[in-house]
Symmetry: C2
Subunit: 557 residues, 2 copies
């Protein structure tokens, strides 16, 4: 091996802008080839006021656009595919994924008018896609959405295994268990690095099979034969919906699927054969009244308490077709994602107040591997380097601990930050560079036009509202033509605060008079002086800091 060749390396670059909020997008770079694994979006944090979505900053990819051979996608969840419609618009390269995943991506591309201009390729498990110097092999896994894949990325300097999001389910509802044999074969040939899902790395044991949920739901159906049943779960968990439908069919109930995203996914999954809808079971929501309550099931979105989802609208009586009746049974087949607890409990309280019985425990299993499954993958893949992925820092750290327990030396375990360029080959594994990454805010139709300064203004406005000081002055002279006037929004209830407003007015008038008497003609100074005077008064009097704008209008007479 020549020195020149031995120094070549594969670079792995996580591009998911914000730390730990779940935009999955990772570039694999070898010489003139860039392949990108996943292209997810994130939902905004509480402090990102008015933001609808967050997508990754792909500056790095655009700067190397000629090298980017394509996106390979592990599965169809939003945090893995959601940013594609935004990114493909700027970087039109082919997309490779399994059949159901491609169908879900195409659904998004149609909504964004990009379907005709994007090249999507369906890949079967076991197939390898050759993209420049890299070969990407799709390996069957299990997860909370059907047709998920791990990827083996074959490069001239070695093979890297990326698990995607996965669990080990020996008895999956649809299809076969994870292809452990292939993980083992790769491990025997030698794997340079393992990028493994860390979501449940803090949890001991083994994640239960999806089938255990079916059993739990079935026994609830058996125990509740005299009431209507509503079941809320994740729209994309097709296997869950399958099991609910099977129980419904078994107990002679008709099924309504409600919620736009769930209707779409179930239709797609049904067309492609990923769900088998029992005959004469599915009915239209309009037909509900034709059946007695105890012969119906409504499967809905909204298990995370999302305010516009079907279940929330049902709970708050603003759903057009379904109203909660005393005695209804509502099953939450989901756990709240951290941050959604209050919203979920709010919906549960609403349902209880309307007389429904609510079951929200022991009717869900995770789609992610716990500690023993992670250990299983390490023991099969036997990677030289461990790169924990997918999770908050505490999860990545927990997986690093597992990797150490599995015998990987500490200096072969790398927790990466967004933008880190990790260069690996058989000799070394180190961060050699960093590239620009970041979060791009999507607000309405605008992508990236809301930045930190705008966000800071929204935060100030949201806390104490704003006060506007208006002054009109004659151009070229120092003559006050109108004002100072005050307008407030989001500050105080004005009618009850006449006295306060009068005092504020007086502060401004005194300040203005003082400035004019001193013949101060610099309007910038006047604006600042008025703002400071009012700001000081409001803070002293109320301990509040509204945004204060002082505006001088210049009039030529």
């Amino acid at each position: 091996m020549s020195n020149g060749h031995s120094r070549k390396s594969l670079q792995i670059i996580p591009l998911g802008g914000l730390e730990q909020i779940g935009m999955n997008i990772t570039a694999f770079v070898y010489e003139d080839t860039i392949v990108v694994v996943d292209c997810g979006l994130a939902f905004p944090e509480d402090e990102m006021l008015g933001i609808d979505l967050v997508i990754p900053d792909i500056t790095y990819l655009l700067e190397h656009a000629d090298k980017v051979k394509g996106f390979v996608i592990t599965h169809g969840h939003e945090d893995h595919i959601g940013a594609l419609p935004y990114v493909l618009r700027e970087l039109n390269v082919p997309v490779y994924a399994t059949r159901l995943t491609v169908a879900m991506i195409e659904g998004k591309l149609k909504e964004h008018g990009l379907y005709d201009v994007t090249e999507c390729h369906v890949v079967d498990y076991g197939d390898t896609v050759h993209l420049g110097d890299l070969g990407v092999e799709f390996i069957r896994t299990n997860h909370s959405i059907a047709n998920s894949s791990a990827l083996a990325i074959h490069s001239p300097v070695g093979c890297v295994v990326h698990t995607g999001d996965f669990k080990v389910d020996y008895t999956p509802v649809y299809g076969d268990p994870i292809d452990l044999a292939r993980f083992s074969q790769l491990g025997q040939k030698g794997v340079l690095a393992l990028l493994c899902d860390s979501t449940n790395a803090e949890r001991p044991g083994f994640t239960n099979s999806e089938r255990t949920v079916g059993t739990a739901i079935d026994s609830i159906f058996a125990d509740h034969t005299n009431c209507r049943i509503l079941v809320s779960t994740f729209a994309s968990n097709v296997d869950r919906v399958q099991q609910i439908m099977d129980s419904a069919h078994k107990y002679g109930r008709k099924v309504v699927v409600e919620g736009r995203s769930m209707v779409n996914i179930i239709q797609t999954a049904s067309e492609l054969g990923y769900i088998r809808i029992p005959e004469n079971t599915l009915i239209d929501i309009g037909e509900l009244d034709n059946y007695p309550d105890e012969k119906t099931v409504i499967i809905t979105t909204g298990s995370q308490g999302e305010s516009m989802a079907a279940l929330s609208r049902i709970a708050t009586n603003i759903h057009k077709k379904v109203t909660i009746k005393p005695g209804d049974l509502v099953i939450f087949s989901s756990n709240p994602i951290p941050g959604n607890e209050k919203a979920v409990f709010r919906v549960i309280n609403e349902l209880c107040q309307k007389g429904a019985d609510v079951i929200f425990q022991d009717t869900h299993v995770s789609g992610h591997a716990c500690q023993e499954e992670i250990k299983l993958i390490y023991s099969l893949v036997k990677p030289k380097y461990a790169i924990p992925v997918h999770g908050e820092y505490r999860h990545l750290k927990a997986q690093a601990n597992i990797a150490r327990m599995m015998g990987i030396p500490s200096d072969h375990i790398k927790i990466l930050s967004s933008g880190d360029v990790l260069s690996i080959n058989s000799r070394e594994c180190k961060v050699t560079d960093t590239v620009k990454t970041g979060a791009v805010f999507v607000d309405g139709l605008g992508v990236g036009d809301v930045g930190n300064a705008v966000m800071r203004d929204r935060q100030i406005l949201s806390q104490d509202g704003m006060i506007l000081i208006l002054l009109t002055m004659e151009k070229g002279s120092n003559r006050l033509l109108a004002g100072p006037d005050i307008i407030t929004r989001g500050f105080i209830y004005v009618k009850e605060s006449d006295e306060l407003l009068e005092e504020m007015q007086k502060v401004l008038e005194d300040t203005t008079e003082d400035l004019l008497q001193k013949n101060i003609t610099d309007w910038g100074k006047i604006k600042n002086a008025l703002r400071d005077a009012l700001s000081g008064y409001v803070w002293k009097k109320m301990k509040r800091k509204p945004m204060i704008l002082s505006v001088i209008t210049e009039v030529e007479i």
Copy 2:
């Protein structure tokens, strides 16, 4: 018994304005006597922008001020005492509570300058306070704060038991177990109604003793003798702090208490003998550097991820005296309260990134009774009527189910809404009236000056910011002197949106010209037309709805 007398009843009125956000305040009314149990505040929900605290609307009490004999307080948590400084200012009546509770109330009154004008009485367990026609007996309970009480409210029509917040701890860290004997005696004499804590009514089993946490913490101390330890917990959990200090002492560590509220409470508890600080254990934070890391413990506030609390400041490197070092062990001796999960995990991630090890499981027990404890109280008290209190609706409903299981007929179980007037006597138990209640927002020094209209403005401002349209016109004529000008805040990043702003400007100029040509002189119409034109344009172009203010300044020339 005369008919006249038999129709008299005791009225129970929950006054905690908002449903289920935890302001505990309940009026007990008998003829000309009103006694109020607890007077708590709530922390704002996410959508209450800029609000610091929420307190109850006491209109009802003020309207009957001459009848209000006093406040009786069950324990010193914020959701039971926090509104006292605001309420006593308007309704100055005596306050009755146990010794530590009075000390905590007095601390608050001092901060608000009300200490000298308020009458606070210390009550011992077993004592009965006579207030008009009602006698209020204090009964020892266990909870996550020392010196907690249940109350037996003796009235001419019967006795009502209010548990306050409680658990059954047979081996409490300080003092004695809950006075089950007294509950039993009351039950034998006959209890009209039981108002029982519902917080954990969904949880089966029995809440563990506080001592089990001490054992868990002690074994962590035993396992970690080579690093500094930080323990974060609730400031008011004096027994928890006691156990941490005992372990520290046992393993030869010095203790620093950090966080204003914790320092205050520990000092008060120590003065009153509710905590025994081991000799030569407590040191000042400034002395930390005099001891090796493995010989120190820092007990801090911030276990809920509160951004300004000590632990958050330490985690984000903005604490003046303490910086996280790799190898530090941080123990969260707390569970996240629903809604705080993300904030807590954020702090944990920060700590992990700085190299700390974090333990946040199995180092906390609840202060509230689980199902078996609730059943125990029902079996002892044997109430005629059950009125579940303290909790969200789902918790109240879960307790109603327990009450039914304990043999109470469904029509003797009442879940009340805020403002319901429940009239009870030996013959009946029904809601006979409703009174005005509500939530009063505290923002800075302002109490009640931020209402729904202001909140709505803040919400609009927070979502898409605001646009200001300025026009200056001559008084008495229709002549445009200046404008239309545009100012935006929190809307878009202006420098990158020159083109958009130019188009917005053009929309306004065209609209203005059109209006002036049509000789429209009604300034209200002009303002609305400009706002509507711009609003329509922005929605079409960006799908956003900023607040738009159009202001016309009138100038006399």
